[in-house]
Amino acid sequence: MVLFWFSVLAFSILLYVLLDGFDLGVGILFGLSRDEYRRREMMASVAPVWDGNETWLIVSGVVLWGAFPIVYATLFSAFYLPLIFMLAGLILRGVAFEFRENARRLRIVWGLAFCGGSVLAAFMQGVMVGALVEGLPVVHGDYAGSDFSWLSPFAVLCGVGLCLGYSLLGACWLVRKCGGETQAWAYRLIAGLSVALGLLLAVVFVLALALNPRVMDRWLERPYLFVFPLIGVVAAIVLALGVRRRRVRAPGYAAAVTFIAAFATFAITFWPYMVPFSITVDQAAAPHASLAFMFWGEGLFVLPLMLIYTIVGYRVFRADGMNSSQY
């Protein structure tokens, strides 16, 4: 039961990262373009799906609370400010979809809100992951740091890294959904972004090993972990080939595999800890009565339905390189 809910949690977080990743990425890239037509094209490409993507964040949040209340309480209170900023970013970019379209004089403001909100949300998510890798001060299951303990150079680096990563996903999405100039522009972006991201990931990886000796121990204990960065490298090569041959779908899949590899590296390095080196999965799990209550309804029935719905939703909008004015 504990393992089931841990898998559900890991899966919903991964799904969130991949799905909201590309639409946050499109939001970040939005800031790089001045062309109004292209900007609208970008916004329209994610407009049908962004809110569905964000529901996975809520799903992750409530599953975490229901199944692992101790982690929910510790992490969310430790990351008070980053979470608040992330939420602020998500709200701003979410309402920008509607408000920008209806604004005339304030269009600049809502464009800024869309891009700024996306950057803020992505950056804060990266920062939190970084702070988690570095190690949170937790004493007897309680967070023992201060307001700004999470703000370290390493965490900031991770924040920038995630912005780049999401932008890469976003660019791959644009390649797939847009045509003409926007597509060509996105191909150019992918090249630059993937090189920058690759370098940054390498630096982050080395730093993580150097900063946290227990991370180093883990990798020495579990050499099979090296499989995942390897998968990442292979995916990067596929990505490069895909871009060179101007493939429409390959870059997106390759970028997603890179993310999955990074996510798996992260999860398996720290297993069985949920908050690295202080709270394990078993310590954090809610009592059996809670997990079973969740399992027999939402776990067994609703979750599969939600997945089917997500897949169907994407199939409806699957047309590649569609002219976005068509819907």
Partner: protein, 463 residues
């Protein structure tokens, strides 16, 4: 624990949840109203129902979107500001709220898509079914929220192990009598909110002599529904009062403004409660009525606040006044609904401009009543978060600093203020533009809509 951080957290929770509840209470009502319209449309085939349906679907979409973005905050706030609570009661509250997310999101998201895109692709019966399922989703959502809140009001079905609240009997939690009184009370509040928003919009069009058939339909249906719903609501309000009387005597005494035991008890109609002197100033009260309301008896003894130690009493002024404002709003709405229905039956409704104006201006009242009801329930529960077992001061995040809480409160106030202004403006434009079919011009740009593809920008009249 920082006392200022606690105060700021309470303010923040009150602010964000009050802001949030505005949208769901509206969308639950409108979803049910859309189902009624679509059923009438299928049954009679009249295009008028269809036109009014399409119009309200747009407004539903906007309010639904705002409800979602403000709802995300709620899912996080328990952990950020109330980590002690989430840790101790997580095994019970977490699963309840996760069911809310799973059931409501799934039903609403999937079938809302059919409402928006599927009219031409599915059979009319299936379309009606989808409308009903969306409405069911909004109701289920409020069921889980009420289940969670009712457990906080009257905790049952749990055992405490190592200080943590562990569920021992989900059946008791889900079939708590408190829940099954409060859930209908909240549902009817939402239905009435929907009915009055519809009636007010109709009255507005009739006053402007625009959109005649649609306006008259909205006005009549809104008033008729309200004429049935408001008395039902008063009845469930009474039952809710009974549970408070039996289970939460401190809250009941605060609502009644009763400081000392009385037998038979009088009913304070209006007064200014004075906590320092444990008495009311400028009180107007009716003898014996307090016993009648409290226990349906002419000589029952009703308890006063001084029976309880000071540190177990809620603040009196907020529940006392918010309860009276709620009841006042309810009575005004009852008058408008019944008088309007009477005039409509006599065929004089559209000539009576006073009632039309009253109906038009009444739309904020259900919102105010809902908010005031929640203020009564939540402030009256103080000083407890879980009534009788966990104090609010023990529920707050122990490491939270006033500085962090201040930053977050400022952030939320700013952003919600912004959303509120623009969201209201947006809905106002839609309402003013009215339900008529306008020529949809091809947009010169790719349209960045999905959140609301129904909202064709060319339908929105601009200044």
């Amino acid at each position: 624990m920082d006392a200022l951080a606690l105060l700021l957290s309470r303010l923040q929770f009150a602010f964000t949840i009050s802001f949030h509840i505005i949208f769901p209470s509206f969308t639950i009502g409108v979803a049910a109203w859309l189902t009624v319209l679509e059923a009438l449309h299928v049954a009679t085939g009249r295009p008028l129902y269809r036109q009014v349906f399409d119009f309200w679907l747009k407004i539903f979409g906007v309010a639904f979107g705002l409800g979602v973005v403000t709802g995300i905050v709620m899912a996080f706030q328990f952990g950020t500001n109330w980590s002690a609570l989430s840790r101790l009661t997580g095994p019970i509250q977490g699963p309840l709220l996760s069911y809310e997310t799973f059931t409501a999101f799934y039903l609403e998201a999937s079938f809302f898509g059919i409402l928006l895109f599927g009219r031409s692709r599915v059979s009319p019966w299936f379309y009606l079914l989808s409308t009903g399922i969306v409405a069911l989703g909004t109701m289920l959502s409020s069921f889980w929220i009420m289940a969670n809140n009712s457990w906080m009001q009257w905790p049952v079905g749990y055992v405490v192990q190592d200080g943590v609240f562990v569920p021992s009997d989900w059946h008791k939690i889900l079939f708590s009598p408190v829940l099954w009184v409060r859930f209908p009370h909240m549902l009817f509040a939402s239905f009435i909110t929907g009915a009055f928003c519809v009636a007010a919009t109709g009255a507005w069009y009739v006053l402007r002599s625009e959109f005649g058939p649609e306006g008259r339909l909205m006005l009549r249906m809104g008033l008729y529904l309200a004429a049935v719903l408001v008395p039902l609501q008063l009845f469930f309000g009474h039952l809710t009062g009974d549970y408070v009387h039996d289970y939460q005597p401190t809250k009941f005494a605060a609502i009644e403004g009763r400081w000392h035991d009385e037998q038979p008890a009088s009913e304070v109609l209006i007064a200014i409660p004075d906590a320092a002197h444990e008495a009311n100033r400028f009180a107007i009260s009716v003898p014996v009525l307090g016993s009648v309301i409290g226990s349906l008896s002419l000589h029952s003894k009703e308890v006063g606040l001084t029976d309880f130690p000071r540190d177990q009493r809620p603040p009196v002024a907020i529940p006392f006044f918010s309860f009276r404002i709620m009841v006042g709003c309810g009575l005004i709405l009852l008058f408008i609904a019944w008088f309007g229905t009477y005039l409509a039956r006599k065929g004089r409704l559209e000539q009576n401009r006073v009632l039309l104006w009253l109906t038009f201006l009444s739309f904020p009242l259900p919102f105010i009543a809902t908010l005031m009801g929640w203020f009564t329930a939540e402030v009256g529960r103080q000083p407890w978060t879980i009534f009788g077992v966990l104090r609010t001061a023990q529920a707050v995040t122990p490491t939270l600093t006033a500085r962090s809480a201040f930053i977050s409160l400022t952030v939320f106030c700013t952003i919600y203020g912004l959303i509120f202004v623009f969201g209201t403006l947006f809905i106002y434009r839609l309402l003013r533009a009215g339900p008529a079919d306008r020529l949809v011009l091809p947009a010169p740009w790719p349209r960045a809509y999905r959140a609301l593809p129904v909202l064709d920008p060319s339908l929105v009249v601009r200044e």
